[in-house]
């Protein structure tokens, strides 16, 4: 079996589920003939036809709203927003309807859909193509926010997202779309939502992260191991609802925690995780929780973006600070 990239794993999951379930339809801008600007839907028009792979007119509020209408009729739309920065026009439908339809109608109508979008910085793209505003969605009751960070997890989590009976925001980290390849068996097996993945076990410190930052964090953990520091690395994967159990169990073991995300720090999801740690296991902490994040600035244009993003070096520095903390 050949190895595939994260973006190819997305394509493989879409194809699998479209084959398995006639209710799955895809819609978005440039997704049909062109196969998506990142090619995540390539070949699907040819295989499943124009009734199920729909190029829409260029209007994001419409893409969100029409998907919700389809979902209420029992279709399972998987809509692509070309970039996260253009999803904002659809926010009203995501916040005011997708997340609420089940609750509003006391279960009479539901909204089983997936909104996919490429997200994150590091690909030297123009403004609005580097957004990492996952916290906006994580704040909304009724949504799920899922972020894969490897080909295997992209395949398994996307299958789970499509099968989930509620709306899922599925954020695909563009910088790692083609960074690594893995063998991804096309067996239709989903991975669990609402669960963190422990990517590396360690006893000295817990590193909590997701998305693009998983690779910087793993790199940092590798270098720390050379200094005999064993870091446990957790990929949160579903940032809403949070699996605090896994994070707490790890921090209870290590007594130290650094949270890494590329989004701006203030009110980022890291703040929620840190607050929960303070509420639930303050006394098991041997040092304050630290965050390594993007700055509280607009993501700079391409020339400066690498200075904005957290790096393995910044993570290692934070880990050293936490380890050398003397209360």
């Amino acid at each position: 079996m050949s190895e595939i990239t994260l973006v190819e794993a997305v394509n493989q999951a879409l194809a699998y589920e479209m084959q398995a379930d006639d209710n799955v339809v895809l819609l978005g801008e440039d997704i049909a003939k062109n196969g998506g600007v990142f090619r995540s839907t390539v070949g699907l028009l040819e295989r499943f036809g124009p009734q199920r792979v729909l190029d829409t007119p260029l209007a994001e509020s419409m893409i969100a709203g029409v998907s919700i209408g389809m979902a209420m009729q029992g279709l399972k739309p998987v809509a692509e927003f070309q970039f996260m920065g253009f999803m904002y026009a659809g926010m009203e439908h995501i916040i005011s309807h997708a997340s609420r339809i089940r609750n509003r109608t006391r279960g009479r109508l539901t909204c089983p859909l997936v909104f996919r979008t490429p997200y994150g910085a590091g690909i030297h793209a123009p403004e609005h193509h580097s957004e990492s505003t996952e916290a906006l969605f994580a704040h909304i009751p009724g949504l799920r926010v899922v972020i894969p960070s490897s080909p295997v997890r992209a395949y398994g989590l996307l299958l789970a997202a499509i099968r989930d009976p509620d709306p899922v925001i599925f954020l695909e980290p563009t910088r790692i779309y083609r960074l690594v390849k893995q063998t991804v068996p096309d067996n239709g097996q989903a991975l669990p939502l609402d669960k963190c993945f422990v990517l590396r076990e360690g006893s000295d410190i817990t590193l909590v992260t997701w998305g693009n930052m998983v690779y910087e964090t793993l790199k940092a953990a590798g270098q720390l191991a050379e200094q005999n520091i064993q870091a446990e690395v957790i990929d949160v994967a579903t940032i809403k609802p949070l699996d605090m159990q896994t994070i707490l169990a790890s921090v209870e073991k290590t007594g130290r925690c650094v949270i890494i995300h590329e989004a701006a720090r203030t009110c980022g999801v890291g703040a929620e995780i840190a607050a929960q740690l303070a509420e639930r296991c303050l006394l098991c902490l041997m040092a304050p929780v630290k965050r390594v994040t993007g700055y509280d600035t607009i993501v700079p244009y391409a020339k400066m973006e690498k200075h904005y993003l957290p790096t393995a070096e910044k993570i290692i520095k934070a880990v050293e600070d936490v380890l050398s903390y003397e209360g």
Binding site: Q51, M62, G65, M70, R106, R108
Partner: protein
Amino acid sequence: MTIVAKFEIPYLRFLDSEGKINKPLPHFAKNSRDLISLYRTMVLTRTFDAKAINLQRTGKLGTYPSSLGQEAISTAIGAAMQPNDVFCPAYREYAAQLQRGVTMAEILAYWSGDERGNQFAANPEDLPIYVPLATQCLHAAGIASAFKLRNQPRVVIVVCGDGATSRGDFYEAINLAGVWQLPIVFVVNNNQWAISVPRTAQTNAATLAQKAIAGGFAGEQVDGNDVIAVKYALDNAIAKARAGSGPSLIEAITYRLCDHTTADDAKRYWDPQTVEQAWQEEPIKRLRQYLIKNKHWDETQEAHLQVECNQQIEQAVTEYMNLPPAKLTDMFDYLYASLPAIYLEQRREVEI
């Protein structure tokens, strides 16, 4: 100069404000039973509205938007639709909702602040009232897309107000409906007002119907106080949509003869003369005059109808007032198909 395209917006009316016919009636309107049925629905709706306002004034209901003066539009919608079509209402569509199996008790529960009012025990697929204006237009387009993808001969009717037509969602829905040739009918209730902002301040367009032209399909104006005209236009638009020939837009011109809601005071912005004139045009009186003149209706029947309406409404009010309070845990229990673990601690706080 070459003209590359030309458009027209027709206007339709059969019954004038005096109840006189100004052109041959369509087939359905020659049947007095059908006309009487439309008349009864309009009267029931107006009586229900008055009761709801009364309940609000006496502290038994929350803020309530009346449909006073606009009953013909919604009555015609309910009569023109098939049960398995889908209705996407604005918030003054009680007449259509009642015909589609939504109960008065559910409507009252909704306006009392109880989500169970959206549960529609007898209607599984219609949308509940949406508060963010015009957003229902896009969901309606999505529902129509589902019908089309599944080759179902079903139609979606979506209603919004004149104010709502200024929103992007309205245009985006019109555009998609045209380009995908969706089985959908857009009905604009042009009651001249968006709270205090008059229709003339919403758009410089001569009509709202012409907004369909940009989407590549037909728009027409009808006298929204002539239930025959609204029903006729809807029958045609629905038949066209059902046959796979695409969307239509009907701008129904009427007047909001009430405050925007019970929380509004229209005297702050209304011109009393215009309102007095608008009362002359209202939909119920003209149909009654027509029916009486043609010996289809009389004072005794009218009195009977009033008694029947009041009985039905009183029964619904009793049902509404007797609805036991919902469980506090309901606020958690319909968030997701099954509640994620992280919510359990918060849910326990409201458990009793």
